[in-house]
Point group: C2
Chain length 362, copies 2
């Protein structure tokens, strides 16, 4: 579809509005089924009519939020002939809310400037629908910034499954436990706290039955701020958990705990993806993590390495199917941080946190 | 011995001269049997008469160097009534050169201000000797700075043996080789180069016969600047090396290669200490390193951890005699650095270097 030449370039006011829309979107934590989106409505004179952003599942999308505010401030016809500047291509999807493309058309918006193109196969097509209805549409303005705002969400939609982060804790010599099986604590207090931060950023926390039986973990987010519900707690494997275990008791109390009786990582992610989980934290144990790794289903590794030597003991990483050095699993190092020890506690230790991503060649 | 009140405090000129003497000392790399020492001679009026520093084994000590320069510039009686400002207590030892205490007395120096007290049991006593001869002596000025200048030398003398640095290279999961034994290369190019920098700073490089037989290493310093001779190359263990091995050929060519037919780390360090080695780099293998560790003879660990997973394969660390987590060997983390990969080489990897010191509680 041909467009008027002036539509292909954003105005200074539109660029400024897009920066503001990115700011608005960033107010909400990045988590859950939906992306973070901001919208600024500009009048024909380039002045701001209203701002809006999406506050989470079940609440109005950013465009609708902005349209409602414009109507509340300036009357029902406020958006007539206006330009909507929005960080994501308006959706064309009947989900919990109606399509934003329709809402913009109904409000009489004349032009839409959006950043990221919608990677969601069930929601995309909004730009085409708007154009077909005669709206002037410019896409891709500050698209990288907008994509970064919803990096995990975008990746999950592109992959067609939840993004998987594998959390790994080990001694400097790669052990997860000492010779007698004791493992509390190898990493330091700050590292254990940091795991709660990781959990607070995902939709589900996954462990194998081995870890659930050995450690009787709670798997909830504690000690750090949590926006929205606790991540779903998921146990993978065929064995039963005793009714007295923390996870079984939480499930009995109606908390979101799921036992998936499978060993197939694909099946696990299919189930969790169906629940619109975009980001899953794999907390162990080594056998489960190795199964995900071998299936090519690990997208990020967060390794907590303590400056501790154990010599012998259970390895933190199981057989990954690597026989020779040429097949070693090489990762890109995204970040290295030292989580300091508590100086008041002589038994505490610092921990080095490595954030890694499997190399694309895999 | 009582001293005049004014002797107990350094003058402004003396403090400035000590800072200059520290600078002079720091010009020489820290390595070898002798400490780095600088000396500034001040005339009775506080003006600088001459400067000197020690350039390494077999060359004049700093005090003698400064006295000679003073005589050359200002005549034989130049140092009469002068003040010698020196970073280390003047020695009282007939080694390769005569005692500096005698040289200062013979030159007619009236006052000596020194920084660090001499920790060397066979060389100390210089201050007492000077005082007994009527020289005004002030010790301890900027002593911490002076000690830091010769930290390893000082530590070696205090321990009564060479300081031992254990170099460890491993995958993120603590492996030194893949399942089939292949191990070249786990760490990145910058890490392998960094090992040459480590070697260039020590007096001897030590490996077990297992490593010597498996890897046929050269163990020389290459690719980095080296001041002074190559470190002595030491093989520890009972097995013979084939005459065709790199180390056997180097020994046959008269290069400093030593085979110590023992498994006892104490015996190894006794031999190397007798040769006035102050700093030894333990390069492997795991069994030798574990023997040093269990004997409490590891003073520092430099761990090169590559962002690589192997899953199975030979562990980088052997049995350290640790049975339970409460006995885990905890280390203090002195430094963490990322040695970047070569962006032009897609097979290269970054490496995280951790510099660690066993906790004192051990």
């Amino acid at each position: 579809m041909t467009q008027p030449a002036e539509a292909a370039v954003a105005t200074t006011a539109e660029r400024a509005a897009m920066r503001r829309a990115l700011e608005l979107a960033a107010q909400v934590p990045a988590r859950g089924p939906n992306p973070r989106v901001g919208c600024v409505l500009l009048g024909a004179d380039g002045a701001v009519l209203a701002e809006g952003y999406h506050r989470g599942a079940g609440t109005p999308h950013a465009e609708v939020d902005a349209l409602r505010r414009a109507a509340a401030s300036h009357g029902a016809a406020a958006a007539h002939g206006a330009t909507a500047v929005v960080t994501l291509e308006p959706c064309n999807h009947h989900g919990r809310t109606g399509p934003c493309a329709d809402a913009l058309l109904n409000a009489g918006v004349a032009r839409v400037v959006h950043a990221q193109h919608d990677p969601n196969p069930v929601a995309s097509g909004g730009a085409a629908r708007l154009r077909a209805a005669g709206v002037d549409v410019l896409g891709g303005l500050l698209a990288d910034e907008a994509r970064a705002l919803n990096a995990t969400w975008t990746r999950s939609l592109e992959l067609g499954r939840p993004v998987v982060t594998w959390k790994l804790a080990a001694s400097l010599d790669g052990r997860a436990a000492a010779a007698d099986g004791t493992s509390r604590w190898i990493t330091g207090r700050a590292a254990r706290q940091d795991v709660h931060r990781l959990r607070a950023g995902v939709d589900a926390v996954v462990v194998g039955t081995g870890t659930a039986l050995a450690d009787d973990p709670d798997l909830t987010v504690r000690h750090v701020p949590l926006t929205g519900p606790q991540p779903e707690r998921v146990v993978v494997g065929l064995r039963d958990l005793p009714a007295s275990s923390r996870l079984a008791r939480a499930a009995a109390a109606g908390e979101p705990v799921t036992h998936l009786r499978t060993h197939d990582p694909h099946e696990v992610l299919e189930t969790l993806g169906y629940r619109e989980h975009r980001h899953v934290l794999l907390e162990g144990g080594p056998a489960l993590a190795a199964a995900f790794w071998r299936a090519g289903l690990v997208d990020e590794v967060v390794a907590y390495v303590a400056p501790v030597l154990l010599g012998v003991g259970a390895p933190a990483v199981a057989d990954l199917g690597i026989g020779t050095i040429a097949d070693a699993a090489r990762l890109d190092l995204l970040d290295v941080a030292v989580l300091q020890r508590d100086p008041a506690d002589p038994t505490d230790t610092p921990t080095v946190r490595l954030t890694l991503r499997p190399r694309k060649e895999r």
